[in-house]
Symmetry: C2
Subunit: 233 residues, 2 copies
DNA sequence: CAGTGGTCTAGACCACCAG
DNA sequence: TGGTGGTCTAGACCACTGA
């Protein structure tokens, strides 16, 4: 099964995936060691190594020193999706983006926000409510709480020109975060903003971000029924 | 700024991330070329190359031939989450898992299924409806369509013992897929299965998977209000 | 068309861990 | 303790693309 043409990581990877999907190598079984594959596929061990590391990263194989590489039994599949700036989300769907700041106020954190941030939660936060529009129709309503300590400059930022969503994405260099998806009944504020009837189903994304151990912001984003978020396996 | 100790991809990556997050390299600016970094960091160009490729994969930098590597302006962050087997999902939340097969029937594909599968959609599919329970309470209702061509054995599988969800995950070695999340009003069937009132909000996950170009299965999973799906940035 | 990243190679040594 | 994957290196050539 030598390949006659030139080899590369991609083609090696493709060939290995073929063997995995064709059932040539069964789940749980040991596959040949890197050195042998390199000889068989007519390339260097480094190339095989990089291909196998990719496959391991995707969860298709499990690698262990000394004992070799095995086909993963029940691969834990991971899905990924992009976190877009809302403006881009609207524009990608062909709409004209605009937004309205409905509330800007320094307030003490409600319980749910404190719970999200944990021990490190500051007492006083900036509370923002923003309606994002597509062609002047409600697209999404966001209820956001921002820690002013970790976001210097936000109090002076022209949030009417650039939404807090976009401002934060551009200013905060790196962070970790948690996201929760759920279906909810719209509360009164959300229903009014999105021009829905009370208790209409809304799609909620809750996102909380930190930089190192310090909380940055937590936000509840509400989309009307009909909105779909796409991810890939 | 030479590092005195031995270097490795990890430490190179760490140092580069430090420069990015400390603002030493500002968004949009050009960073030194691989060769120079290799000299400065006292390692080979290959090592720098691999570290930079990882950072590019994470979206922290943008690389182009000839023009060099730049700090990403507004990093498109990716979120990831695991796709669990429903049984494990229930058990992880401390419930006792069981399931009920409500429907098993070969049927012709409705329009929405054909739309999902595209041109390659077979005419006749296996239609399954399954209710997943946690401690005998409804947890999730799934409406699934399976291509029997690409899933040999499913017609004989004891789906009362092992749900189609679990059976497919274990049997299908590798696949790509699309997932859509949305909030919906429960239809009559879903409402009855989940013991909800009509038009109650439900969280819907639609998942379609293929192996290479051939469709495997498409499924609509419905969770009652209150269910939250977690992902990480 | 020249400079930059993309990739490959052969060889080497190290780290881990099952036999 | 030996076999396997993990990683590093120096050098080479290729592919793309902006000046």
């Amino acid at each position: 099964m030598k390949t006659s043409a030139t080899n590369s990581i991609r083609s090696v990877e493709t060939e290995l995936i073929r063997r995995l999907t064709d059932g040539e190598w069964l789940p749980g079984s040991l596959i040949p060691k890197e050195e042998d594959l390199a000889i068989e596929l007519n390339c260097s061990r480094t190339t095989v190594n990089r291909a196998l590391q990719r496959l391991a990263g995707e969860g298709l194989v499990v690698r262990k020193r000394r004992s070799g590489t095995r086909v993963a039994v029940a691969p834990d599949k991971k899905a990924t999706f992009q976190i877009p700036i809302i403006r881009k989300e609207v524009e990608n769907r062909g709409g004209k983006y605009s937004h309205l700041v409905l509330l800007t106020k320094r307030q003490s954190a409600p319980l749910w926000v404190q719970a999200r941030f944990g021990e490190r939660s500051p007492r006083t936060l900036l509370h923002l409510q923003t309606l994002h529009l597509s062609d002047s129709h409600p697209h999404m309503f966001e209820d956001r709480w921002v820690c002013t300590q970790t976001t210097p400059g936000i109090l002076e930022a022209p949030l009417d020109d650039m939404s807090a969503n976009e401002w934060l994405v551009q200013k905060v260099p790196y962070s970790r975060g948690e996201i929760y998806f759920s279906a909810q009944r719209a509360d009164a504020t959300t229903a009014r903003a999105l021009e829905l009837s009370d208790a209409a189903p809304v799609f909620r994304i809750e996102r909380t971000t930190w930089i190192e151990q310090s909380p940055i912001t937590t936000v509840r984003m509400h989309y009307p029924e009909g909105y779909r978020l796409m991810a890939e396996l």
